[in-house]
Subunit: 204 residues, 2 copies
């Protein structure tokens, strides 16, 4: 995989630093069922409010169920489909809007599902796989195609697969694929003791 | 730290398997500022829709700003406060409900913030620290105490610190602290190709 480690201002764990969302998938390289199991198992052990596990994942593997994969691909926004069409696995992510125990609104359903999805991304990284999540897809179409009940919100479509080696990158995504990753300044995001009081990052 | 690895049905990365939400914090053991930096830096490199980085974290460290920490502690529901009072650091997690660029609703704000918070939990695990997120706190009180603008949703309060060694666990949380972690069956959470079509987990 092309290494594009986070350029961090403070040291972070190797796995977290190595994860990134590429776009150049190897279309002819399937993802082993055992690897998919481990990705889902990683999600399963994420924390959730009252242990409700509000996440649901619908796995569409082109090599074992082409029609489901095609349904997923058809839901993507054109800009995403142009590259995600090469991902051998597409996964629709859903979040339960109510607690499964008592049916009351769960205001942490999407938040907890985001954590579970992050676990999938990291498990993928540790297996040499790449995950790129997309918000750009037709949510109504996805709900209909995959019979998602009303109480679940579809959150994202995930592209999963192996990355192309650097010398096979297509020209139209080459620059974006190799450019450095960027993030906001700390003071916009992290506060100490009160809103807008910057949490100061000190050097080593 | 007391090891309580996930009892997984498929192998997952060591870091993901090791994370868990304990309740027995060592009240007298501060968290170094450098470690807090790394926790926040881990969140910073999480993925987000349009790279908007909707997460905000307000760090309340009892050892450097006792009044902010006390404000945070006062917001907790009683059941949580009983143990979280021993956490030297409490962090209020907020999610931007709109895109910072154009002010339009961001339906991924909470989802992406959940991913960033998961990164904090994992970075903590890799440093021998423990994070326990709580939904049980007074959101209105927290908004007021920390001057959180209306367009941000407060999602959780995080307890951060070092765990007590096993022989110092208080009686009232000892059993819960040592009991095995549990999760739902796979077929409830993971589907193949369509809703409610179980993604089958096969043995090794």
């Amino acid at each position: 995989m092309i290494e594009k480690k986070a350029l961090t201002s403070a040291p972070i764990n190797e796995l977290l630093a190595s994860r990134w969302s590429g776009r150049a998938y190897a279309a002819d390289k399937p993802v082993d069922h055992k690897d998919l199991q481990s990705l889902l198992e990683a999600a399963r052990w994420a924390p959730s409010c009252f242990g409700d596990e509000p996440w649901r994942y619908i796995v569409c593997d082109r090599f074992s169920n082409e029609s489901a994969w095609q349904h997923a691909c058809d839901c993507l926004a054109e800009g995403n489909r142009s590259w995600a069409v090469n991902a051998p696995v597409l996964i629709l992510v859903c979040a339960n809007s109510v607690f499964s125990g008592n049916g009351k609104p769960n205001r942490w359903g999407e938040y907890d599902t985001g954590a579970a999805s992050m676990s999938i991304c990291l498990e993928a990284t540790s297996r040499g796989l790449m995950v790129h999540q997309m918000g750009g897809y037709d949510a109504d179409k996805a709900r209909e195609a995959f019979h998602v009940p009303d109480r679940y919100t579809t959150m994202a479509m995930m592209a999963v697969g192996y990355q192309l080696p650097e010398n096979e990158l297509p020209d139209d995504i080459r620059d974006r694929e190799l450019s450095a990753r960027r993030r906001s300044e700390h003071e916009k995001l992290f506060f100490a003791g009160d809103w807008d009081e910057a949490f100061l990052f000190t050097g080593d």
